[in-house]
Amino acid sequence: MAITDRGRSVGTVEPIRTRPKKALPPPLSLYQTAIGKKFVMALTGLGLIGFVIFHTLGNMKLYLGAEDINVYGESLRDLGGHLVPRTHILWLLRFGLIAMFALHIHSAYTLTMMSRASTALKYQQKQKFSAANFASRSMRWTGTIVLLYLIFHLADLTWGVTDDDWVRGDVYNNMIKSFQRPLVALIYIVANIALAIHLFHGVASMMTTLNLNRIKNLPQMAAGAVAAFILVGNLSFPIAIQAGLVEFDDEARQEVIDHAQGGEDDE
């Protein structure tokens, strides 16, 4: 390698940021550095991928009928059975998810700012990319779309604020009524395409960051598989409902309403 430091007196190259003066104890010290933040982003990403896959698999119970998916929803609230109070484990998982989202977004934001600070004048010609693809260069956009969608999705199907006829616990009919609205189906499709694009780079990047790439092309293959599964799985719901393949079930709704009036309604 060439020695570039000899006989030059033109200007100086100053660090654009300093190393942390006071190192926190591990594992907190990780979050003080970019690679550590990448590690946090990868771990939280892995957790969120796990959630997304589990969520898609669970929702596939839609095709088994109202009872199956409603029982599935209830068993999520009832995790832990008689050992813990109802919904406590679900809330624990939810707080975990919220924390993962927060760390994922915060690390992405700070790393983006770090890269911006490290970039000088952009190339004045069009840079030809040969490895960076649409997915890897649009992570910040697809991530934002997914976040905005997530808020809408919670309002739509968890809090039920977009539909007066929404009934807590009737997962099956709530989902069908929501996706029968063409606009909601469209929003859902767009958001899930963004999610699949995000995962197409995200999974591969996560595996590289976590040093899980010893098998050649494993990150790329895993990323393709996860993105394809999420795309096909999640897009099937609004398409099936719009096509009328899965229809509203009055009996199931009545059953949920009767059950709610008879028993406790604490969640």
């Binding site: 390698m1 430091d5 190259v13 690679i35 890269s115 490290s118 030809k128 890897s136 960051t209």
Partner: protein, 253 residues
């Protein structure tokens, strides 16, 4: 061949800079890219103009001194080739070739196409050494090294430090360079003594100059030595380990 060169001219670090176009007639397709620039400079000198400044040294692809952005690609269109080893046969008669210096915050432009890559030296200084016994020369093969480890170390050591990885990176990150410089020592028995301190010091020095990696893989594509992204993964692993490793037990292997 007649070539039009659209080249970045910049008087000094604080000049704003601009593109200038020059005609280079009678270019042989057997010329290297730098020879074509030499011809262009000859013409500029005979016309009483200031020649274009560019870095170059060995001109055989092993020193890492040369390197410019050619038509939007670091080191030009040919894969695994430094600018000096790129030949004009890769271009056609009448082409316009756009040439820019590497652009990154940590690589300020000195003049025209020449950039200051001292930030790389700072990274090397932070940990690019091993502890050895001084005195008489050690016997050859005194330390047994697995063939695979030696090969991997050699693959990493192929890095010539040209800066194309940083230049090609949309984030101006120096992960490929730093990971190669770490790996060629870290995978060898001789490199174990300082392995985690080295990793931490070099990574943290890198981060004080360069951007954050998003695993685009653009660096590997631009690299004239085709350094693998696996080294970045290895560096990530070692850096996280460095945070948790009890270094007083490092002697236990």
């Amino acid at each position: 061949m007649n070539i039009t060169v659209k080249v970045w001219r910049q008087e000094g670090p604080n000049d704003t800079g601009r593109f200038e176009s020059y005609q280079v007639p009678d270019v042989s397709e057997d010329m290297s890219f730098l020879e074509m620039l030499d011809i262009m400079n000859e013409h500029l000198i005979s016309d009483g103009q200031i020649p274009v400044t560019f870095d170059h040294d060995c001109r055989e692809g092993i020193c890492g001194t040369c390197g410019v952005m050619i038509n939007g690609q670091a080191h030009g269109p040919e894969k695994a080739t430094a600018t000096c080893q790129l030949h004009m046969r890769k271009f056609s008669d009448g082409d316009e070739i756009v040439i820019e210096p590497w652009r990154a915050g940590a690589f300020p432009i000195i003049k025209d196409l020449m950039v200051d890559r001292r930030a790389f030296d700072r990274i090397i200084e932070a940990g690019g050494y091993i502890s050895v016994s001084t005195g008489s020369a050690p016997d050859a093969n005194e330390i047994p090294i697995p063939k695979e480890a030696a090969d991997l170390s050699m693959d990493a050591a192929a890095c010539i430090g040209c800066g194309a990885c940083v230049a090609a990176c949309p984030n101006s990150a120096a992960q490929l360079f730093t990971s190669a410089k770490l790996a060629h020592l870290n995978v060898m028995p001789q490199g174990q003594t300082e392995r985690f301190k080295r990793t931490q010091d070099m990574v943290e020095t890198m981060e004080s100059y360069f951007g954050a990696c998003t695993n685009h893989g653009e660096c590997h594509e631009a690299c004239p030595k085709e350094i693998s992204l696996d080294f970045i993964a290895m560096m990530n692993g070692d850096y996280v380990k460095a945070q948790f490793k009890n270094r007083s037990l490092a002697g236990q292997g």
